[in-house]
Symmetry: C2
Subunit: 240 residues, 2 copies
């Protein structure tokens, strides 16, 4: 019987650009699977000071009337490979990494200083692999962010960087409890782990790292393909 | 500090139409928040025998070439209020409840007998409320199903019926750890709870009920608005 446990890692200081996140986690850490959050971006310095942003006409136009800071809109455009929707101040785009989310994951809350925004890590799978390597003995690292969804209100945390955990568990072609074929069952376990971890964090609690125990059957010896394996190519996407 | 724990409820027998699910759960149960799965449909008899299905021309046409059973396609059409996409044997539709998912949630695996398909419960929020009432003392019930998503591979478990747990935690207008406003943060906690519970179930293990502990801050005295609160009206949906 599998038992899942998740709790926030206590005692982490506020993470600043250039901090050695692995060392901070190791100093505070428990002894099993970890789910780390976007604090990675801060440690890596994926932070933009709005005063340094040069605003384009397009950003000014999108910001106008929506009550948004055109500099912040410019950062969103810079982080986007393709706009999916831009209406009423909401920009939904495909990021350079291939994630489809609001505002290209650019976040004005929980920044390291006023008038800064935090970007997604440049390569979240590489960040997860580096963190896993530095946290020798930690079986897996997931870096997560909260994404909105089609058709359903609210956001859920999803995996944007993974090392040492399989992204998907494939039951297609295998049998159910009665021996019948499970045709479509293909579970995004890394996204479910990110969601589980989010349940123990309060958004104002400065608890950026969560320890998750009980994912053993999904832990892999190699780093694996990472969260890139979760990206559905447009041509196959009947949901979008 | 919040600590989340989830484990499958052991000792549940195979659930059949007409079974008293609450009694079965009560006989096996622990003592805290519960997440129950689509076994509810079976207990409620939301099961269709394919031999009784009258196939329309539309179902025959959609099934043709896709290698699908036209009777099963007919059941999907009967459960759908509106088709979102129908290509290559995959039907994505909005169900009568308002959920957008593949095959209107009609499931040929884990059925109670060969040549039967299991439907979603007719009114999953009502089912959750009834289960909560029957399980006096259980703080909350979530009924879940695995849905595919736009842009990302695989399925994640989401809440389709809720009683006693808030569907969403609203941080909009509240402050982050540094006192800055969290503009868009609105977390679908019931969906995250469903996802967490799914991590402890194997799809072939006949573990339809999972006990989840540690959701206390989201538990409500009243049943609440249920999973209906998670449905995003089309006019507001920039993601779809």
């Amino acid at each position: 019987m599998t038992r899942l446990e998740a709790w926030p890692l206590p005692g982490l200081p506020e993470v600043r650009p250039g901090d050695d996140l692995a060392a901070l986690i190791a100093a505070a850490a428990g002894d099993d699977d970890d789910v780390a959050h976007k604090v990675v971006s801060k440690a890596e310095g994926a932070v933009v000071a709005l005063r340094d942003v040069v605003v384009s006409d397009r950003a000014r136009e999108l910001a106008a009337g929506a009550g948004k800071d055109p500099r912040q809109v410019q950062v969103v455009l810079d982080e986007s490979a393709e706009l999916v929707r831009a209406e009423g101040g909401v920009i939904i785009s495909r990021t350079r990494h291939g994630f489809v989310c609001a505002n290209a994951g650019v976040d004005a809350s929980n920044g390291p200083a006023p008038d800064t925004v935090v970007l997604l890590p440049r390569d979240p799978d590489a960040s997860a692999r580096a963190l896993r390597a530095a946290l020798a003995g930690r079986p897996a690292v997931v870096i997560a962010d909260s994404f909105g969804r089609a058709w359903r209100h609210g956001q859920v945390e999803v995996a944007i960087g993974i090392a040492g955990l399989r992204a998907l568990e494939d039951w297609r072609g295998r049998a159910d409890g009665a021996g019948r074929e499970l045709r479509a069952t293909w579970i995004a376990v890394a996204d479910e782990a990110a969601a589980a971890a989010d349940l123990v964090r309060a958004k104002d609690s400065r608890e950026p790292v969560v320890v998750v125990r009980g994912l053993g059957r999904h832990v892999t010896a190699q780093d694996g393909p990472g969260a890139g394996a979760l990206l559905r190519p447009r041509a196959e996407d009947l949901f979008a």
